[in-house]
């Protein structure tokens, strides 16, 4: 099975060949490295830029203005903050120009903790991103969804922020991407660049096929009746693991993989809460003005009388960063035990 980085690479290859992608670029995105997570190795339109995040966003917007289809990358979301006004511009072009221009661009950036990344390789960005109007925001939790979401993002006529959970980049999927070789070793030999000198290396792309995960469509990753967990990205497999543990105790938790953070799939969330009467939102971002608060507010608006207990948010502590020492990350970002405890408590809370 492809891992998440390979899935991104396969999607970009498919999009270069079939969806009109003209440029894939960012710091270290082109040869020889092909991205710090190898997600852009071997792609024919990938190129390296100056280490200039504002230039990367400006370049993408300009390419979109001129009829191209850019996929830009900011190497880590922690370095995107000096681009906020350009992100705002990308998001307001269509509205401010009354539809004269639109912005078909994709911006990829790795997010979240879990790799001992310290202060500037561990942050989350989705909550801030949802305050920048005019963008659609997606975050996969597995390789097949990464493939399908990225193709949908590239086909989208509006700007899409593709948030990649960096801790899952080497995680393999449970399902094959359509056209992916069944044997992992075969895939590796076809599309992974060799270590060392790779100047003569060319990928041998497998015949991957069109597969889309529609933007705005969540997935029930695990069905249940005792509690609704809404999550995405790195917290999805953590939540599913916790749900499987609770299942052994006779507590069946429903885990929803949001996949699209904005605009999020409220009908799926609402239907689940109406079934379970309980809601726990889980993500890694810091807790103040966390996007999970918005999810809870929408559920309060739409399904208040279905709730049996108060909804909860399990998120990162409101501290300025994720510290390098494990004791910092372990105690400021939700971990497996925290997720399990929160789920167990909420599922068992007396109505």
């Amino acid at each position: 099975m492809a891992n998440l980085a390979q899935a991104i690479r396969l999607a970009l290859h498919y999009a270069e060949e079939n969806l009109g992608v003209t440029d894939i670029f960012g710091e270290d995105v082109g040869a020889p490295l092909g991205g710090v997570f190898t997600a852009t190795q071997g792609l024919k339109t990938a190129w390296n830029t100056p280490l200039d995040e504002r230039g990367i966003i400006g370049m993408a917007l300009g390419i979109a203005y001129a009829g191209g289809k850019p996929v830009a990358e900011i190497q880590f979301c922690d370095y995107i903050y000096n681009c906020i006004d350009l992100l705002k511009l990308c998001g307001n072009v269509t509205w401010s120009s009354a539809g004269e221009y639109h912005v078909p661009m994709v911006l990829m950036t790795p997010v979240g903790s879990g790799i001992h990344g310290s202060m500037y390789h561990s942050h989350s960005f989705e909550s801030i991103a949802t305050h920048i109007q005019g963008w659609k925001i997606v975050m996969p939790s597995n390789p097949k969804d990464a493939y399908g979401l990225l193709l949908s993002a590239i086909a989208e006529p509006n700007p899409v922020l593709f948030l990649a959970p960096k801790a899952l980049m080497r995680q393999k999927g449970a399902e094959l991407i359509p056209g992916e070789p069944a044997d992992e070793r075969t895939l590796h030999n076809l599309i992974d660049a060799p270590l060392g000198d790779r100047s003569d290396w060319q990928p041998n792309w497998p015949p991957v096929e069109d597969y889309r995960v529609p933007i705005g469509e969540a997935k029930i990753a695990r069905a249940g009746t005792a509690l609704t967990v809404v999550t995405y990205g790195r917290m999805l497999p953590v939540s599913v693991t916790a749900a499987e543990t609770l299942a052994k105790e006779g507590i069946e938790v429903e885990v929803i993989d949001l996949r699209t953070i904005y605009p999020f799939d409220l009908p799926t969330v609402k239907a689940s809460v109406e079934k379970t009467g309980r809601l726990l939102v889980i993500n890694e971002d810091t807790e103040v003005t966390n996007f999970g608060e918005h999810i809870i507010r929408k559920v309060m608006d739409e399904a208040f009388y279905s709730l049996e207990v108060k909804p909860e948010l399990l998120a990162g502590l409101d501290v300025p960063g994720v510290g390098l020492a494990w004791g910092y990350e372990q105690n400021s970002v939700p971990q497996q035990d925290d997720v399990l405890a929160a789920m167990r408590r909420l599922a068992n809370e007396r109505a």
């Binding site: 203005y65 001129a66 401010s96």
Partner: protein, 332 residues
């Protein structure tokens, strides 16, 4: 279909008179916009009166059209004369000033002089004063790949060029083997809002900043439309044919201050129109009466336009959610 190669028009008597006509049209339009602000027909004015001597030749020399064969314009908010010289109807600027629903540039959403004209490659103007330097590299990148003689030009002032995106533009447009056909234009009016540039930068000429990147550059008196015309032709010929960046500074006046925030009162600075009119008279190209007739014609039309615009609908609740998303196929 390939676009016809760009060729600078001959600066003959007819073109000199046309330049005057557009300069007067631009000034009269800006002064109408200021009157609209003063009389409650608009909230806020910002514009470019005083830059006509440079911006009109720029508009007339623009390779106008849609797509990479033509010039992409990354303008700031003092570019009214360029847009009018290209042939836009000033009534649309009045519409944007009044924030009507008929405003074709923003449907009443943006300040006046914030254009967006896709058929002419005029990308949306923003008040950031710097982001245009970042976006211009993207359209120029596409033009470099496309070939032809289309270029991307970007305008800004001394304040905008103090921002980091100005340096981004110069750095990205001079990457080895990836030089970009960017014309970097600096209209230097000696101020950033209220702050004199003498307090904020030590360059005698802003264009000399381009020396550090090996970018050819020049400075011209932007109050002289003839000198400006020739300087723009030289710059454009270089960028179009060499496919490399060029930085041109134009020293201009700011006749009504920064915006309505500073009162929009007339300042005692050199006016590019009056000496140009004297020149046309000296060269026996126009008489004083003919010059006055040009002013009268445009002022009368603008007054008529204003009455029409005043009667046009304003945006309402039904407009708010329009164009948040683009629902059609992707591709500009």
């Amino acid at each position: 279909m390939t676009a016809t190669p760009w060729k600078a028009p001959k600066l003959d008597a007819k073109l000199k008179i046309a330049i005057h006509d557009k300069m007067v049209l631009s000034r009269a339009t800006e002064e109408m916009l200021i009157r609209m602000m003063r009389t409650g027909h608009g909230y806020f004015w910002i514009g470019g009166p005083g830059e006509e001597g440079f911006n009109v030749p720029l508009g007339l020399l623009t390779k106008k059209g849609h797509g990479p064969d033509y010039d992409y314009l990354h303008l700031h908010y003092r570019s009214s004369a360029t847009i009018l010289a290209m042939g836009s109807d000033p009534i649309d600027m009045l519409r944007q000033m009044r924030s009507t629903a008929t405003d074709p540039y923003s449907k009443g959403r943006n300040f006046v002089n914030h254009f967006a004209i896709k058929p002419w490659n005029v990308v949306p103007v923003t008040p950031t004063i710097e982001t245009q330097y970042a976006t211009v590299i993207g359209t120029a990148h596409m033009q470099r790949r496309h070939g032809g003689d289309g270029l991307s030009y970007v305008t800004g002032g001394d304040a905008g060029s103090a921002e980091g995106d100005f340096w981004t533009c110069m750095n990205w447009s001079t990457r080895p083997d990836h030089e970009l056909p960017v014309l970097i234009l600096l209209t230097q009016n000696q101020f950033g809002i209220s702050t004199p540039s003498s307090q904020t930068q030590n360059n005698r000429h802003l264009n000399e900043r381009a020396n550090g990147f090996g970018i050819r550059n020049a400075c011209v008196d932007g109050n002289d439309p003839i000198a400006s015309f020739h300087a723009i032709v030289e710059a454009m010929e270089y960028v179009r044919h060499e496919r490399k960046p060029y930085c041109l500074q134009a020293n201009v006046s700011r006749l009504y201050g920064h915006s309505s925030s500073s009162g929009a009162n007339r300042y005692d600075e050199p006016d590019c129109i009056a000496p140009y009119e004297q020149r046309l008279i000296r060269e026996n190209l126009m008489t004083q009466a003919e010059i006055q007739a040009v002013w009268d014609k445009h002022n009368a039309q603008l007054a008529e336009d204003l009455q029409k615009v005043i009667a046009e609908p304003m945006p309402g609740k039904e407009h708010v959610l329009q164009h948040v998303w683009h629902d059609g196929p992707a591709g500009n």
